[in-house]
């Protein structure tokens, strides 16, 4: 028997009417999210990622399209009848209830026997490391603790899928990094499908099995983190995820002449856009061999960033290229502002798109 997908969206569209005008927040999204997968919806604010998640949860009925959970059409099923739970951006804990009552809420609504509620809530509080704080009110707790209460409140119901709407947005950097690892651990332990909405590319890259990069109501690319980073499908993805250098021009016979040098684009002719990640580029003073892509430029800016140096290099045609150089063996800067340098990289690190 073929395994059913946890969540399927089929050409889902969401339209709103604001000030008498129809606005499409989601313009036709099709997704299959597998059982047990850590799936991220990544994109800038207003890209439709939260609306997409709210349609999975059942808070927004789609204007068009189908939502399926485990093969069942739930497009018109209200949120309280859907076997998915959500962790809200602001946690949305019940302020008048203790931690215990917050976590037990879903089980009580489903008329779970008292004994089982006690056992499952206790276990869940242990998983999120909140044992001993059962009687606290949400507002007596730190942001990180509230976050874990929200997580426990959703997970204790053992939903088919857990939806997380920018759950770490309100936490500071250190806590956020700790929670990222914590979330991955919990997901492995409970084996539930996670759908994670974020605008933070690092978060998405660190945690996800697969990422859907969204822009303007559409999915631009749907792939694993490595693929999204190394092989961005569109200029938007290349620009949104990490730092990218874009070089555009007309290629002739597999070579793009640019900035006093050449970019190798084997087998291509006509207009192309080439993406190169800053950390793939080597900076040097000698002209590199003909098997490498190489361009000439002048160092415009040098920034020391601890683990690496960042160079901004201006090419002859005014295009600017960013280069990251690891501070691996010594921290000496190899080029100074105003130096004339060669930038080179292997052909395999050029990602070429038709333009």
């Amino acid at each position: 028997m073929a395994e059913l997908n946890a969540i399927e969206l089929e050409d889902v569209v969401k339209e709103y009417v604001t000030h008498g005008e129809v606005v499409q927040a989601v313009k036709g999204v099709t997704l299959d999210i597998a059982e047990g997968e850590f799936f991220s919806l990544l994109g800038p604010s207003g890209c439709g990622k939260t609306t997409t998640m709210r349609m999975i949860a059942g808070f927004e009925p789609p204007t068009k399209g189908l939502v399926r959970l485990h093969g069942q059409d739930v497009t018109n099923v209200p949120p309280n009848k859907r076997d998915v739970n959500m962790v809200f951006q602001s946690y949305a804990l019940f302020p008048h209830m203790s931690v215990w009552d917050n976590v037990a809420f879903g089980l009580k609504q489903r008329r779970t026997p008292q004994e089982e509620i006690r056992r499952r809530v206790g276990e869940m509080l242990e998983i999120v490391d909140l044992t001993g704080r059962e009687r606290r009110r949400p507002r007596e707790m730190s942001g990180g603790q509230q976050q874990r209460v929200a997580l426990a409140r959703a997970l204790v119901n053992r939903p088919r899928a857990l939806l997380l709407d920018e759950p770490l947005g309100a936490l500071d950097l250190k806590l956020r990094q700790a929670m990222q690892i914590e979330l991955k651990r919990i997901q492995r332990e409970v084996g539930i499908t996670f759908v994670y909405v974020t605008h933070d590319q690092n978060e998405a890259l660190t945690m996800s099995d697969r990422i859907a990069v969204m822009n303007d109501g559409l999915v631009e690319q749907l792939a694993g983190p490595r693929e999204v980073y190394e092989r961005p499908a569109t200029a938007f993805v290349a620009g949104f995820i990490g730092t990218s250098n874009l070089l555009a021009g007309a290629a002739k016979g597999g070579v793009l002449e640019i900035g006093g040098g050449r970019v190798l684009v084997p087998g291509r002719d006509g207009n192309v856009t080439v993406t190169v990640r800053p950390e793939k580029i080597v900076i040097g003073t000698e002209e590199p061999g003909p098997d490498l892509s190489a361009v000439r430029g002048t160092v415009a800016e040098v920034a020391y960033l601890g683990t690496y140096n960042s160079y901004a290099v201006s090419l002859a045609d005014k295009a600017e290229i960013t280069v990251f150089q690891q501070n691996a063996n010594d921290a000496t800067v190899t080029a100074e502002r105003g130096d004339s340098v060669w930038l080179s990289w292997q052909a395999q690190h050029s990602y070429v798109m038709e333009s």
């Binding site: 949860a57 059942g58 309280n80 949305a92 019940f94 302020p95 809420f105 879903g106 409140r153 119901n157």
Partner: protein, 283 residues
Amino acid sequence: MRRLTPYLLALPGWLWLAIFLVVPMAAMASVSLQTGNAYDGYAMTFSFSNYADAIGRYSTQMVRSILYGGLATAAMLVIGYPVAYWIAFKGGTRKSVYLFLLLLPFFVSFVLRTIAWNFLLSDNGILFGTLKGWGLLPADFHVLATTLAVVGGLTYNFLPFMILPIYVSLERVDPRIVEAAQDLYATRAAAFRRVVLPLSLPGVFAGVLMTFVPATADPLNAQILGGTGNTMIGNIIQTEYLTNLDYPTASALSFTLMAVLLVGIFAYARALGTENVLEAAAR
């Protein structure tokens, strides 16, 4: 000196309370224990029997006042809660318009509004007279001078004081909390009962307080809409003070009413769970 500063800054408030609350109350308490008559004047005799006499004579009106006040408060809660709920959750961008409409009647004086009801409800007036003329109502139909008229008048006059505090508490309920409840398998009704209602209780508490106390003590509605058979304690106190010039009896009745109301409020706070109410109100 620095440690005293906050207290000194609060001084105007304390003075206000002393001059306008403590002093008059003490004076009234003293008057309530005096004996004498309006011509020869009253003298302090520590006559605690004033209380027993006053309560004995006017217990009917006292009980009636509490009953009418309670009925009107219950009616206001039943009418006011849904109105507050609707404005808070469905009012959208027009919330302030609805609140303004709610307060609009207050631009007309309390007495005038109540007299207008007398006019509307009179046996052969503009409304019932017309309906009787068309044969839609029996000729002996009347509303004025009944319990309904007085309780209705109280309900009408104090309704905004019920709606506003409930509205304020509902307005502060984050809609995402309601969504969270629905996400956790609660039906709309269950989400209301378990989440919205408990979070609005501080508003209900304040609303009941702000309506039950003045409605119970109000003399005007009974006077204008109640006829002779619906006299409330407010009317008695007014008559004793202004017509009979029996200041001790009026003062004793005032204090008795206050005591009854205070006891009622504390019992009510206990029943609702003061701890929860105060805690939620503090947020």
